[in-house]
Symmetry: C2
Subunit: 298 residues, 2 copies
């Protein structure tokens, strides 16, 4: 696939995700909860996770309507985790996607509730009533299972707990990798697998996509660590340099900048090799998304 | 049904729920997250919501294994909401079920993560892999749908947002009822409906159980408001008198103690009348649970 066609596909997919978020995240809840939820998830972000869902769905010729719901659900989980992570009792950050964070804008209590409600909404979006754009109940259940496992104690929340406990602690590469596999990797991998669940797959394709998802999940974090030291806050849209400031272990502090850059490229190659082993005829969008993960500048 | 038989049923059901929570809430997560989750949900509480799930399931001759999962899931949602609600940015409470609250014991960041992970775990429990105690995928999806809607912006989280916005505000009975219908009522009603979803129901039975659930949901809150002013903290296992202290509107502040007591009994009668209209042959346990809701002393 040409890069031009891919860029157009990305823009189109991002627009579809944005429209779905706009439609499904409520504006009209009492007491401003909906406003805080919308502030936390609309009009920002590169929507990498939904792009992975949609690209994986296309690779298996799956149901687009189901994948769009899965993409929105996974983005809601990602966005809620940022809202909670930015709060004073966690990272205490005031800037996100170039705007004041949700708790700065709406207060801590509303930010906590908005995050809680965004997690519930993710599962609501995955379980629509029967209707014209209905998702088969068995697929609804499968998507809920994949999302819940990646978001919870064995995945994202567990990784955040390790992260909390690691401030000022010297982790070796194995421990750092385990933390990131959960904290960031689990949800990125689940994005790929939720997309794959929207169509038929054999064990070979499923395993290959799981490997691809694991590799780009780690690559994403390695690049995050690199950007944290090489980019300005204005470029990132969030506070730069905060890992070092908080004395958190990173790939850069562990292996140095050059080795971290090489490692990101190795992981990208690992992801692409997994796609080649999948037996799926067209994984070019997933391959280009892997490139985008390691080449991003914010 | 005799009260003796009912008491034995309650003890048996509570033991089953406790054993399931013990088995399904993980102890072995890294960085102590599982310990905080277990502290927040194990060994405390009357398990009213799981009892409602199990009694409703029995009324429709539903699948017990599915109802047990639903009961654990709804209790996890309830427990996570208490963990977050007790935090300094919300109610700032230090005592719950007679013990220090989760954030007092484990710190605010771990309490927030534990609550987040408990919500994810609820949906994980509802979507087990296929196996001997497997729940049919369509039922898994239905239970996730009911739980997500009752926990989110239109239900519990939305009610909490109204509650936050109501401190020091004079609500009339309609507004107070709307807040509690969401904040407490939605999850209690969902408990009944999740139990009912575990077996066959016609529209008449479903509607009657929905009415029953709505009535006991409100009754529960009216009694909560009464106990908040009539009981000591030692009896409640949580800080008494805090609604008045926080200048929150309550049924007692709105209608006075005697009228609030009469209102609780009316709602109990409304719940029982709904059961009589359900066409279901044996709703005696649900009827006795309605009694228990209004007669409880803590």
């Amino acid at each position: 696939m040409k890069r031009d066609g891919f860029d157009a596909w990305v823009l189109d997919a991002q627009a579809a995700v944005e429209a779905a978020l706009e439609a499904w995240v409520p504006a009209d809840t009492p007491a401003g909860l909906g406003q805080a939820m919308r502030y936390g998830v609309l009009d920002g972000g590169k929507r990498l996770r939904p792009l992975l869902v949609l690209a994986a769905c296309e690779a298996v010729h799956g149901e687009r309507a189901a994948a769009l719901r899965a993409g929105v659900a996974v983005e809601l989980i990602h966005a809620y985790s940022l809202v909670h992570d930015d709060m004073p009792c966690m990272d205490n950050d005031v800037l996100r996607r170039g705007k004041p964070t949700v708790h700065v804008q709406f207060g801590e209590a509303q930010a906590m509730l908005a995050g809680d409600a965004m997690q519930a909404l993710a599962f609501e979006v995955l379980t629509p009533d029967p209707g014209p754009d209905g998702v088969a109940p068995a697929l609804q259940a499968r998507l809920c299972a994949l999302l819940a496992r990646s978001a919870g104690h064995a995945g994202m929340a567990g990784g955040q707990a390790i992260d909390l406990a690691s401030i000022g602690v010297a982790l070796d590469e194995t421990a750092l990798r385990d933390m990131h596999r959960r904290k960031t990797g689990a949800l990125l991998q689940a994005s790929v697998l939720m997309g794959a669940a929207c169509g038929p797959t054999d064990a070979r394709a499923w395993d290959a996509l799981a490997r691809y998802g694991a590799a780009i999940g780690l690559a994403f974090q390695v690049v995050d660590d690199i950007l944290d030291v090489t980019q300005a806050s204005e470029t990132l849209g969030k506070t730069a340099g905060k890992d070092a400031h908080h004395d958190k272990p990173t790939y850069v502090s562990l292996m140095g900048l050059d080795a971290a850059r090489r490692h990101a490229l190795e992981l990208r190659d690992e992801a692409r090799a997994a796609l080649d082993r999948s037996g799926l005829p067209d994984t070019s969008r997933l391959a280009l998304l892997a490139d985008r993960v390691v080449e991003r500048e914010s």
